[in-house]
């Protein structure tokens, strides 16, 4: 499972750089699994960073309990944030003073993976909330690629030479686009992805601490250099890309328009008070 640094073209039927994973997720039986559900769309509205994180927990648990249909939600960002992975240390990943000086809030999500810097117009983030049955029998690496296969198709339809680089990277010939993370609980899977739309490389390098070891297998010396934001690779407005992604999901898997329910928002607000907004949670690993 090596990450390519070259632009070697893949066979069109190969969605990932790993032939075995590509072959596994091409199984028509897997495509039928998506179609077994009535997928619901929650469109993007700007929300505070902690509300986005709390909603991920609320909606995952509700899908797991069968209280909400499997759902695709696009995030909106009301303010900038650094979102830490579940097992990352704050001081190891973030320059707290610089973040504070730029009004960037530090928050922690329920999934593992790496820190990301999200600015309101800078990122496109979505969450998929699915019953565990959707990925039954798949390895972790297979499930990541399976969850995002529709996005690779969507990016290819925009003319990008895009592919999945296991474990969890969405990438293209113009650079890395985004990364995925999963949390699994309540018999449900949360699979969420952040893609760079436009990037302030200087701010990124000031706020996030990305050491040499992290880049040791990438053949590069700067994290900003390996990213190819979507605006640069497509020249499309952010909303146009979100609309296109939504259309492709609808075509591939089916999708009904929906919305957040007032009780879901209320439950998330409560979780911000008891967990996501607390120092104990954010500084779980100082």
């Amino acid at each position: 499972m090596s990450e390519p640094t070259t632009t070697a073209p893949l066979e069109p039927e190969m969605l990932t750089t790993d032939p075995a994973i590509s072959q596994r997720i091409a199984d028509p039986e897997l495509a039928e699994r998506w179609r077994a559900y009535d997928w619901q769309l929650i469109p993007s509205t700007p929300l505070p960073p902690n509300m986005n994180l709390a909603l991920d927990e609320v909606l995952t648990s509700r899908v797991g309990r069968g209280e909400r249909p499997p759902t695709l939600r696009f995030w909106g960002w009301a303010s900038p944030a650094v979102i830490l992975g579940r097992f990352q240390s704050v001081r190891n990943e973030v320059n707290e003073e610089t973040a504070a000086a730029h009004g960037i809030q530090i928050v922690r999500r329920i999934s593992g993976g790496g820190a990301m810097l999200a600015e309101p117009e800078g990122a496109i983030t979505y969450s998929i909330y699915a019953p565990e049955a959707l990925i039954k029998g798949l390895s972790f690496a297979e499930s990541y690629a399976f969850f995002d296969a529709w996005v690779i198709q969507a990016l290819r339809r925009l003319g990008l030479e895009a592919w999945y680089a296991p474990l969890n990277d969405i990438t293209a010939s113009g650079g890395k686009i985004g990364g995925a993370a999963q949390a699994r609980r309540w018999n449900a899977v949360l699979h969420h992805v952040t893609m760079a739309y436009q990037m302030n490389g200087e701010l990124l390098s000031q706020v996030l601490r990305i050491g040499k070891e992290k880049l040791s297998d990438k053949g590069i010396t700067s994290a900003a250099k390996r990213v190819g934001p979507l605006r640069q690779q497509t020249d499309l407005p952010r909303q146009a890309i979100i609309d296109h992604l939504t259309d492709v999901f609808r075509d591939e898997h089916g999708l009904t328009d929906g919305a957040l329910l007032p009780e879901e928002i209320a439950e998330a607000e409560q979780l911000i008070k008891t967990r996501f907004g607390t120092k104990e949670w954010v500084y779980f690993l100082p």
Partner: protein
């Protein structure tokens, strides 16, 4: 002290610790790896707490492996990667390049 190791094509793991009387103390494992379920997390640092600093990579890895609860799965890193991170931390503290 801290040691880090990035699994090629995988994720980064870092281990922060001190050595007191020849044993690893105040151990914190962290990084951008995945662990399912996430409540198995405390077992990673717990496995290394009190381990003799002279223990080799294989024995350190075995301690971590044995501490991971049945059914839990580390994704993107491994007990071996965690052991390498510890040894790099020890070597770095002695001014040796691991």
């Amino acid at each position: 002290m801290q040691g880090q190791y990035k699994t090629p094509g995988g994720k980064l793991v870092a281990v922060d610790f001190e050595v007191v009387d020849g044993q690893l103390r105040n151990v914190t494992v962290h990084g951008d790896f995945f662990l399912y379920p996430d409540d198995a997390f405390a077992a990673l640092s717990g496995a290394l707490e009190g381990a003799p600093a002279g223990l080799g990579e294989a024995a350190l890895a075995e301690r971590v492996r044995a501490a991971i609860p049945a059914g839990a799965e580390l994704v993107g890193t491994s007990p071996e990667a965690i052991a390498i991170a510890v040894n790099r931390g020890l070597a770095g503290a002695k001014g040796i390049r691991a």
